[in-house]
Amino acid sequence: MAPKKTTANTASKANVSKDELLTYYKDMLLIRRFEEKAGQLYGMGLIGGFCHLYIGQEAVVVGLEAATKEGDKRITSYRDHGHMLACGMDPNGVMAELTGREGGYSKGKGGSMHMFSKEKHFYGGHGIVGAQVPLGAGLAFSDKYKGNDNVTFAYFGDGAANQGQVYETYNMAQLWDLPVIFVIENNQYAMGTSVQRSTKSPSLWERGAAYGIAGEEVDGMDVLAVKEASEKAVAHCRAGKGPYILEVKTYRYRGHSMSDPAKYRSREEVQKMREERDPIEAIRSLLLTGNHATEDDLKAIDKEIKTVVNASAEFAKESPEPALEELWTDIYA
């Protein structure tokens, strides 16, 4: 249990292979380019409603997913595009859901905040802040009940960390040894309210100690540090030792949603994070300095990703709107 703090922005890089670095680079870049494209389509009026972009937080899901196996589950809030891409969902289906088209994962009926993939064990996509936390523990409950060794990643933000149901869940998860990893994506702002203004105790993961839940803080701008922490948490859960908390310190570059002007923080603050801590730049530089890749190699990757993202945007525009009959389907099983 004894919680301890990891200040691992220089995780054991020596052990990382070239292939791994390239994979993380590609996965993070896909999320970034996808989100930039989604922002564009939103601006063009092709995506409606709320649209919460993940730009800046890419290392969190990519690092966590690096320790998963088939059968593991994940569930998150409404800032969910990155999670879906990281667990292998099809960018076309995600983008077409954003545009509300038939080809979307929910046939256009869920939208940005409510998307699911049974095949990839992605359980949403939930619009009610904090609700996904007991739901995630429930997924873990189902695996424990069935007697397999799958784990569930229940992601939530620093804002949701103040919801009562999170702590109701901590208690039961530890009481029943549920194999769930609570991932607090602390991007430091719950919409416009900074952690300092909403939370008396600065360390969110330490709250788990009150329930006897082990956990740690992780540098969420360093994909290797996140991956290392994820492996540790996964091992803990798979061994039947109950839940684990990872507070992943990260930062979103964009506003809370597309309609947020983000006046609650300075332009300099954002700029400093982008220049000094960008997770994609960090891996890019590792690839180059370690002679794992050349500028040309990386350019080729960029191009490849751009092609995938552009294709998803085309698909999302071309896919027809759902048939009117769809209004009346999927209400009852």
């Binding site: 589950k73 569930i75 979307g104 994962y105 929910s106 046939k107 256009g108 009926k109 869920g110 409510h114 998307m115 699911f116 993939s117 049974k118 359980y123 949403g124 996509g125 939930h126 619009g127 009610i128 609700a131 936390v133 007991p134 739901l135 995630g136 523990a137 429930g138 997924l139 873990a140 409950f141 189902s142 695996d143 009940y145 069935k146 009562g164 149901q165 109701e168 869940t169 208690n171 039961m172 009481l175 389907t329 999927d330 209400i331 009852y332 099983a333």
Partner: protein, 458 residues
């Protein structure tokens, strides 16, 4: 000065109990606070403490006696030196300090005398004619239904406060922990929001949870998961995943438990697409509908009633007795007026129909059984025959179930109506505690009778 010891009411709905054991004998000296007897209620065995000091003069009710009415004298205590040999009990009812709650007295009459129906009974029976019937309480019927389904499907489990070791706060899950073990009959902490969410997540993960809310009043802490998580996920996921589960527990007014513990949620849940909403009346309803609810692939809100738990009804003895959703039951046939109700209200409607029959008015009583889906066809067919309708429910009037039924009748059978539909509902007030006020806040038989007379212009 002799003091009569009266059979105590040890739960809000207790009307009678078993005097399980005397812990004192005649002639014993008793101090206040001494435990003098053990009394079994419908839910638990309780200890009965002496309030006064004195000597046990005479035991009037022997241990092991069942069906001892609340407020019946069970023993007489005397002062030292007083002669106890000639003591006898005074008239039992007269000694009663508090009249039993109105609902509690109204309902048993129904259970005891299930409409000696002069008119022909149901069109489509729930079970084949000649099926053996067994008198069963609603409580037992619910337990039997859950147990049968848990034997049938490994993925069904029961979760809630006090469901396991305590055997159920209302003893619905009695014996289930013994049979199914702690893996499948799970005590939760008092944390409705959390465990409703965990159960919903477990249903996403392929299990079929039954969640017991001690009462539906406490489900308001969890209602976000019932609606936003359970009811909407199938739609939001384009049909990929839903929540095959049951949320069940006591709903509506019990007796003398005040505003925060006495509310009918039928109309609230009935409004939500994605949910199915069930409210049984009899033990047969409870059993057949619960089994259907557990097998249903959608989230089902199963609204029980504490007052009904101890009532007995005939339940068919069958290997697998189920009642489909969306099929109302004509409890009593009649040509003059249609009375539509559900849950405990059906008992009131039947009692009113009995009184009306004495006055020559033949009421047809329809038990809706499920509110979503709602069998409006059966209601409409009846109204087209009787041309008059009264609805009966304990919930509040604004946005009521009866209001919806009236609207359907207006749209579909307007030309058949000879009088405006009247909705008999609970009064538009939070539930008061005082016995007389509570009685007036709830539906009375007289109100139903008056409403029927009004729509039949008698």
């Amino acid at each position: 000065m002799a003091i009569e010891l009266l059979m105590p009411a040890l739960s809000p709905t207790m009307e009678e109990g078993t005097l399980a054991k005397w812990l004192v004998k005649e002639g014993d000296t008793i101090s206040s606070g001494d435990i003098i007897a053990e009394i079994e209620t419908d839910k638990a065995t309780m200890e009965f403490e002496a309030v006064d000091e004195g000597i046990m003069g005479k035991i009037l009710v022997a241990e092991g006696t069942e069906g001892v009415k609340v407020n019946e004298a069970i023993a007489i205590m005397v002062d030292e030196g007083e002669d106890a040999s000639n003591l006898s009990a005074s008239a039992p009812a007269a000694a009663a300090p508090v009249e039993a709650a109105p609902v509690a007295t109204a309902a048993p009459a129904v259970a005891a005398a299930p409409a000696p129906a002069p008119a022909p009974t149901p069109v489509e029976p729930d079970y084949p004619e000649g099926t053996e019937l067994k008198s069963t309480t609603v409580r037992e019927a619910l337990r039997d239904a859950m147990s049968e389904e848990m034997r049938r499907d490994e993925n069904v489990f029961l979760m809630g406060e006090e469901v396991a070791e305590y055997q159920g706060a209302y003893k619905i899950s009695q014996g289930m922990l013994d049979e199914f073990g702690a893996k499948r009959v799970i005590d939760t902490p008092i944390t409705e929001h959390g465990f409703a969410g965990i159960a919903t997540g477990a249903s996403f993960g392929g299990l079929r949870p039954i969640v017991e809310f001690m009462t539906f009043n406490f489900a308001m802490q969890a209602i976000d998961h019932l609606i936003n998580s359970a009811a909407k996920t199938l739609y939001m996921s384009g049909g990929q995943m839903g929540a095959p589960m049951v949320f069940r527990g006591a709903n509506g007014a019990a007796a003398r438990v005040g505003a925060q513990h006495s509310q009918c949620y039928a109309a609230w849940y009935m409004q939500v697409p994605g949910l199915k909403v069930v409210m049984p009346y009899s033990a047969a309803d409870a059993k057949g509908l619960m089994k259907t609810a557990i097998r249903d692939d959608n989230p089902v809100i199963f609204l029980e009633n504490e007052i009904m738990y101890g009532k007995s009804f005939d339940v068919p003895v069958m290997d697998d007795f189920t009642i489909p959703f969306g099929k109302a039951k004509i409890e009593r046939a009649g040509d003059d007026v249609t009375i539509v109700s559900f849950g405990i209200g059906v008992g009131y409607a039947l009692e009113a129909a009995e009184k009306l029959a004495e006055e020559g008015i033949a009421a047809e009583v329809i038990n809706l059984r499920t509110l979503r889906p709602m069998d409006t066809e059966t209601v409409l067919a009846s109204v087209r025959k009787t041309n008059r309708c009264v609805t009966v429910e304990e919930g509040w009037p604004q946005g009521s179930v009866g209001g919806y039924v009236s609207n359907v009748i207006m749209q579909e059978a307007f030309d058949y109506l000879d009088a405006p539909v009247i909705n008999c509902t609970g009064k538009d007030v939070p539930m008061p505690y005082a016995a007389n006020l509570e009685k007036h806040a709830l539906i009375t038989i007289d109100e139903i009778v008056d409403a029927v007379k009004s729509v039949t212009y008698r």
